[in-house]
């Protein structure tokens, strides 16, 4: 039975450096981009790109589809916003607070969800996220419908004023690239190899003596933590944390971003995030047709285009991306 992601295609030895070349191109483009495009839009794309990469870690490299990733993204966003606004935390502490929140939630949710496989796992993650959504609606500190607004960006490390768009952009870029590199490190480590073994054939991995549940849980927590990092940063970028961030369409969107970009690739979710957010900006006046278009993309990708943009490119050139 065909797996969610094709096993690694045959890698031509000359193209071993493809990932680093790709990283170089990505970093260079992102450094120049704010001069050509609206920086606010770019920063949002970067946050979602990190979010999508975190999600992709689970589905692409462990084979677990989490349909409730908005839980970590959104709640990290709330805690970061609240700690920055009400407790007066500086940005790095606010982001840390948010990220740790995501880690804790990731551990709890992961422990519950790991007990089942495949489809059940996806549905459990969705249901848990929905429960926490209803909780967010009612609890006072989230501000309910209003969300937490006017979140101060503060001064990074005490002296860098993040209200300066350039400083903020460079900070967000640094967070994104750092997160991406961390994910790459996970994937190319012995731990990552075990994850891939679990994805390919879990019974065999168990028979080799690996406690697969622990590996899966750790991967889940890492994925949730990085999603939380993305959410916390986003809260400071747009200076708002709201119910949108914890609702299930947000979980669906990050799935779409990874699917379009390419599940199981390092650059796929990044491209996917940029594509989907650009589409939302450009089509904002079309109202409900955006929903339809997203649905059509889902269907088209699943039927015809399973490897996604980056996956197709990687497959064509027989490199790893």
């Amino acid at each position: 039975m065909e797996r969610v992601v094709d096993p690694a295609t045959k890698v031509s030895p000359l193209r071993k450096q493809s990932e680093w070349i790709g990283f170089g191109i990505m970093a260079a483009v992102l450094l120049i981009a704010p001069f050509v495009t609206y920086p606010m839009f770019l920063m949002q794309c970067l946050c979602f790109a990190l979010f999508a990469c975190a999600f992709n870690l689970l589905i692409g490299y462990v084979g677990l589809l989490s349909f409730g990733h908005a839980l970590y993204f959104g709640w990290a966003s709330y805690l970061a916003a609240y700690s920055a606004k009400v407790w007066g935390f500086p940005p790095e502490l606010a982001i840390l607070t948010g990220t740790l929140t995501a880690t804790v939630f990731g551990f709890i949710a992961g422990s519950l969800a790991i007990r089942r496989q495949g489809i059940y796992f996806a549905m459990i993650t969705l249901a848990l996220a929905q429960m926490m959504f209803f909780f967010a609606v009612q609890v006072k500190f989230t501000g309910g419908e209003d969300g937490i607004q006017s979140v101060p960006r503060g001064h990074l490390l005490g002296f860098i004023d993040l209200r300066n768009e350039t400083a903020m952009y460079l900070f967000v870029l640094a967070v994104f690239l750092g997160g991406w590199l961390f994910i790459r490190r996970i994937i190319h480590s012995p731990f990552g190899e075990v994850l891939k073994a679990i994805r390919e054939n879990e019974p065999r991995a168990i028979s080799l003596g690996y406690k697969t549940d622990r590996y899966k849980l750790l991967a889940f927590v890492l994925s949730a933590t990085l999603a939380g990092l993305a959410g916390s940063t986003k809260a400071l970028v747009v200076q708002i944390a709201s119910l949108t961030d914890v609702n299930w369409p947000m979980s669906g969107e990050v799935v779409l971003m990874s699917l379009v970009g390419g599940l199981g690739t390092l650059f796929g979710p990044v491209i996917g995030a940029f594509v989907i957010i650009s589409m939302q900006y450009k089509l904002a006046s079309l109202g409900e047709w955006v929903l339809v278009i997203q649905g059509v993309i889902f269907v088209a990708c699943v039927l015809l285009f399973r490897r996604g943009i980056i996956g197709e490119i990687a497959n064509y050139f027989r490199i790893k991306l």
Binding site: Y281, S285, G287, V290
Partner: protein, 403 residues
């Protein structure tokens, strides 16, 4: 000396005449809900209203060019602020209008203030917009929760509905609506017998309606909106609530919602609005034009749509008086000194806290036998004069109001 004076006078004359012929360009952004719960109350109808205002204004002012753009904020504050920022920063938009959903409105008005543009609201309900969260770049047209609570609550108690039971949506907006209405009811001599809080987007109200029935209150106040209100009323008909003598009070309900309910389910419902398409010749004529511009079958203009038209017209008049749309605060300040007349709201003034003041009306939904057509929905029960309809200036807590 005489020559310098003559030269100066000549130059002044030249300047004056060029100022009169000076081209003024204004770009207006309709930020609305096009696909979700408020799409029929606002959405494309608001865009149509803004287009009508642009056309009407340009017809009378040949030197003004008004451009209208629109976008869907999907009821999300972050999407709303993202679009607003881009509109103000990149697309040269001068004024944003409509903005239903108070959470988005509160966020966007801060963006408008930060960039010194204007926000002329018709969609949101929160009375905080002209209260503690007010700012100098925002005008709030059409309605707010205080006006709804006061209008509906006071009028119903006066008509004999003096015992109330609240069905409240369990989030900030619902609580605020309940709190404001309960205060008015008690001040008018009525009594609140009880309340029950339900989660938003509840599809089944039977359990809560049973509790309301058991309370034997004469009036069941619906402190919720959109689909929740519609569901509660529909199911109330099923459980024989109105047949048993209890009446529903809709605290936030619009004409398109009534149409969705149908007269059979909604008959007898009392509520406050500031516009109804069939009130007079002016409103009827405008509705015909709106219908043509909207170009979709079976739609009714809501008071929000009317507010977008009237608010935009008022804003444009102020822009011409100031000379340009560039300084949002200056235009809004000018609006606060002018008196506006339009066929939809009558005479309107703008207060120091940004509140647009116009009359309000208590309506009751007709019985099916009383209705002469598919859009003949309301009977006018009472008119609340403009100076009584809205919260007194001193009670708002707006920092712009001195003393």
């Amino acid at each position: 000396m005489k020559r310098t004076f003559a030269l100066a006078a000549f130059a002044a004359l030249l300047a004056c005449s060029t100022a009169q012929a000076q081209q003024i360009n204004v770009k207006i952004g309709v930020l609305t809900d096009m696909a979700s719960i408020y799409a029929d109350d606002t959405g494309q109808g608001s865009v149509a209203a803004a287009n009508l205002a642009a056309q009407d204004f340009m017809k009378d002012h040949k030197n003004v060019k008004v451009e209208v753009v629109s976008a869907d904020h999907q009821n999300k504050p972050d999407v709303g602020t993202g679009i607003a920022s881009k509109w103000f920063d990149v697309d040269h938009v001068d004024m944003i209008t409509d903005v239903p959903t108070s959470s988005v409105a509160l966020a966007v008005m801060q963006v408008a203030a930060a960039k010194n543009k204007a926000a002329i609201y018709s969609g949101p309900g929160s009375s905080d917009i002209t209260g503690p969260k007010c700012n100098a770049n925002t005008v709030h047209w059409t309605y707010d929760t205080w006006m709804l609570a006061n209008g509906t609550g006071k009028a119903i108690v006066k008509n004999g509905g003096d015992t109330w039971f609240f069905l409240t949506a369990d989030y900030a907006f619902g609580h605020a609506l309940e709190r404001d209405t309960a205060a008015v009811v008690e001040k008018s001599g009525g009594k609140v017998l009880g309340k029950v809080r339900h989660p938003i987007a509840t599809s089944d109200f039977s359990s809560f309606l049973l509790q309301a029935q058991a309370s034997k209150a004469k009036v069941i106040g619906l402190a919720n909106a959109g689909g929740d209100t519609i569901n509660a009323i529909k199911q109330g008909a099923e459980f024989g609530i109105t047949a048993g003598g209890q009446k529903f009070a809709g605290l936030l309900i619009f004409a398109p919602d009534i149409k969705a309910l149908g007269l059979k389910a909604a008959q007898g419902l009392s509520f406050t609005e500031t516009f109804y398409w069939d009130m007079n010749e002016g409103t009827r004529a405008w509705t015909k034009r709106w219908d043509k511009e909207r170009n979709a079958a079976g739609k009714l203009p809501s008071m929000n749509h009317a507010g977008v038209y009237a608010g935009t017209m008022a804003y444009l008049q102020a822009v011409v008086a100031v000379g340009s749309a560039a300084d949002g605060k200056a235009v809004v300040d000018k609006m606060k000194t002018m008196t506006f007349k339009d066929p939809l709201f009558g005479t309107t003034t703008v207060r120091a806290d940004g509140r647009g003041i116009h009359p309000a009306y208590l309506f009751e939904v007709k019985k099916p036998e009383e209705s002469k057509g598919p859009n003949d929905l309301y009977t006018l029960r009472a008119t609340i004069p403009a100076d009584e309809a809205f919260r007194p200036l001193k009670d708002g807590g707006c920092p712009l109001v001195k003393g």
